[in-house]
């Protein structure tokens, strides 16, 4: 892990500020994040279409339950790009062995219902601890930021629903003749209408890079604080400059002595 190659500013942050930084990171890698998300989510979406009965609530439940799985490629991709390692879209997909299976059973079972999952997902994916190590790591890393990580999940859940609601309102505004707000319409919307469900899937994908990146930045900024990355980077840069100056200084001195030698 080369700390110097981090693309984000390393300093001690509050949890809110870490979340904000996560949104900046999410924006930077947004498009590739959305596509990665869809690469995993779309097959699952199709499966739920074909396997379960129409009209059942099960497809939605499965999609929602698998959200941590869909976020994994984004997290893997971010974890490499954050240290300036060019990962990109295709290479992330090609490296699916590194992010698809490790710890998957955990994050889709006991760790699924955690409201702070965005912050803890990097522990499972990147550190791959066994279960006792995990709870230790989670309490060391997460304890302090648990409340903010919870609010992150709450807010992003609402943002997702609001985007959906806003699209419905837009439809009604722009096509008032075709769409009338009524209970019948809402029933139709919630009754496994494929187009509606695809729109909802896309909204999920649009939000996911921000949510994943914010959770990841909570994790990273806690590690910066716990392990003194900011100090280490500053000291290392300083020593690089210092050695360069020393070398230059010696060069000057030796040239001077040579010249003096020549004068003599």
């Amino acid at each position: 892990m080369q700390l110097n190659s981090l693309i984000v500013e390393t300093r001690v942050r509050t949890a809110w500020s870490a979340i904000d930084l996560g949104f900046a990171v999410g924006k930077l890698f947004w498009l590739r994040g959305v596509l990665l998300y869809l690469c995993v989510a779309a097959p699952v979406f199709l499966l739920t279409r074909f396997v379960t009965d129409i009209g059942s609530v099960l497809p939605y439940l499965i999609l929602w339950w698998c959200k941590p799985l869909f976020e994994r490629p984004i997290l893997f991709f971010l974890s490499r790009e954050l240290f300036s390692e060019p990962m990109g879209f295709t290479r992330t997909l090609r490296n699916f062995r590194l992010w698809l299976m490790p710890g998957l059973a955990w994050i889709l079972t006991v760790r699924r219902l955690s409201v702070t999952r965005a912050m803890y997902a990097p522990i499972t994916l990147l550190e791959r601890p066994n279960s006792s190590q995990y709870s230790q790591r989670a309490s060391v890393l997460g304890g302090k930021y648990a409340s903010e990580a919870t609010w992150l999940t709450v807010v992003m859940y609402h943002v997702e629903s609001f985007f959906y609601l806003a699209l419905l309102v837009l439809l009604v505004i722009f096509f008032p003749d075709q769409f009338k707000v009524s209970f019948a319409w809402f029933n139709e919307l919630s009754g496994n209408n494929t187009y509606v469900d695809i729109v909802y899937l896309i909204i999920m994908a649009v939000i996911a890079p921000f949510y994943t990146a914010a959770g990841f930045m909570l994790y990273i900024s806690r590690r910066i604080e716990l392990e003194g990355w900011d100090i280490e980077i500053c000291f290392r840069d300083w020593m690089v400059d210092y050695r360069a100056n020393m070398a230059q200084g010696q060069g000057v001195v030796s040239k001077q002595t040579q010249r003096e030698g020549a004068n003599v």
Partner: protein, 228 residues
């Protein structure tokens, strides 16, 4: 240039001012808190004015209007850019040159809430905050304002009681000073081994008699915090 959430402003005098801008999550929560406070007041007022008949109804509607549109303006102009919600999250509104917000910009940004609200539940404002580099909603863009974190006093110096202050023997840059200070405060509770590991990096710059690098670095940090 590393990615950060800081707004930099260069003044005519040539000094750089910077402040951390506030992103979507804390802003949404501060807004929600303000909203709940306003709703609370409106419900209480509704109960009180319901006893006053038609006149009460009229007065109630006027008060509702005032509260809905002027509550943020009042707080931003007269209470240092902070509504109650913003205050509880330690954030405030300022002009984008970091000067205190005045009446005009405050009115602009709050009247444009309507644009941010479109088409429902502040979705346009949300998209704007997510996509602009200084996390501004549409009202902020129009009024030239940003929302920043209040400067916080983050030092707890009693953790340094056992450290004796050491004056550094050479000038330090601003980054190096804050690195020493952060080292001394040890906010992340680094283990002794990790502290030594980091402090040993600057071994070439340590005085020859400093055998314990970590102790020396902590001492410099304490000195930089003002202890002598």
């Amino acid at each position: 240039m590393k990615l950060d959430t800081v707004a930099l402003v260069e003044t005519p005098e040539g000094t750089d001012l910077h402040a951390e801008v506030v992103g979507l999550v804390p802003r949404a929560l501060a807004y929600t808190l303000d909203f709940l406070i306003r709703m609370g007041i409106i419900i209480v007022l509704g109960i009180v004015f319901s006893f006053l008949g038609k006149a009460g109804e009229g007065l109630y509607l006027i008060l509702f209007f005032v509260l809905e549109w002027w509550y943020p303006v009042y707080f931003e102009v007269f209470r240092g850019g902070q509504t109650w919600g913003k205050k509880s999250f330690k954030i405030k509104v300022v002009n984008d040159d970091l000067t205190p917000i005045s009446f005009g910009p405050s009115l602009t940004r709050n009247l444009l809430r309507a644009a941010d609200f479109f088409p429902a539940m502040y979705v346009c404002g949300c998209i704007s905050v997510l996509t602009t580099s200084r996390f501004q909603r549409l009202g902020d863009l129009a009024a030239g304002t940003i929302v920043i974190y209040e400067e916080e006093e983050r030092y707890v110096s009693h953790s340094l009681d056992q450290v004796s202050a050491v004056a550094p023997s050479y000038p330090l840059t601003e980054e190096q000073q804050s690195a020493f200070i952060n080292f001394a405060l040890n906010r992340g509770r680094m283990s002794r081994d990790r502290q030594t590991e980091i402090a040993e990096i600057i071994r070439p710059r340590l005085p020859l008699n400093a055998t314990d690098a970590a102790k020396y670095a902590r001492g410099v940090g304490k000195w930089l915090l003002g202890a002598r």
